[in-house]
Symmetry: C2
Subunit: 119 residues, 2 copies
DNA sequence: CGGGATCCGTTTTGATACTG
DNA sequence: CAGTATCAAAACGGATCCCG
């Protein structure tokens, strides 16, 4: 199961990590920063995520109040996801990661321990 | 195994997440922000981490050039870990997480979906 | 004695096929 | 289209052994 943070560690960093300290949640968060997304749309934007893992993480994030899930009684089914206010307040975290990642990519060729792959 | 990022995804956020997008690495990173630490010291600072997992993640981070490992041929054994320059450049990420976490904790009592635990 | 390697059982994560 | 069921892979924890 994807843990939904029911406990508040004393350390603030541990608190944050408990909520979004995993690969997929961070990428999902990023995907939702641009606004409302349908399930399939979100999936397309996150390479290599399976629908089960996406569902699991979205449910955990919903429980934690980060994500809002809206189900439409239609055929074909339609489920929309968006960030709550709390979820949107995480934006700076992804922001900083993006800046760092850009810089890292820029310098990657000068570092020996990395191997460039285009996928 | 703890994946050591050998590939560079196109998305900057994915790049960052690939390097430190896991619970333990983020907490290890935090532990090392204050300077050089011995293995046992680091372990004490991270609740509930097993020595095996700590070793695994430290090795992965070493391979990624984030962490520097120094072994001293002494008795009793002494192994020191510290951030590389690259590792230290990740500081803002932990910083932002800490700020967010503090704010979250402050507001936790007003939100219904969280349950306070002191551990 | 501190750091680490290894073996083993459990839990978590993930890929795939299937359903309404 | 979105979500569940089934099954395989791996991450994790703990105990134990090791080596200096």
């Amino acid at each position: 199961m994807i843990p939904t943070s029911k406990e508040l560690p004393l350390c603030p960093v541990a608190t944050t990590v408990g909520l979004i300290g995993n690969k997929w949640k961070l990428l999902i968060l990023q995907g939702l920063l641009t606004g409302v997304k349908r399930f399939g749309e979100l999936r397309k934007g996150i390479p290599d995520i399976s629908q089960k893992v996406l569902t699991q993480n979205l449910r955990a994030m919903e429980e934690d109040g980060i994500v809002i899930r809206k189900v439409f009684a239609e055929v074909p089914p339609r489920v929309e996801y968006q960030l709550s206010e709390l979820g949107d307040s995480l934006r700076p975290i992804i922001s900083v990661m993006e800046v760092w990642g850009l810089n890292y990519q820029k310098n990657a060729n000068t570092l020996e321990h990395t191997k460039q792959v285009t996928s």
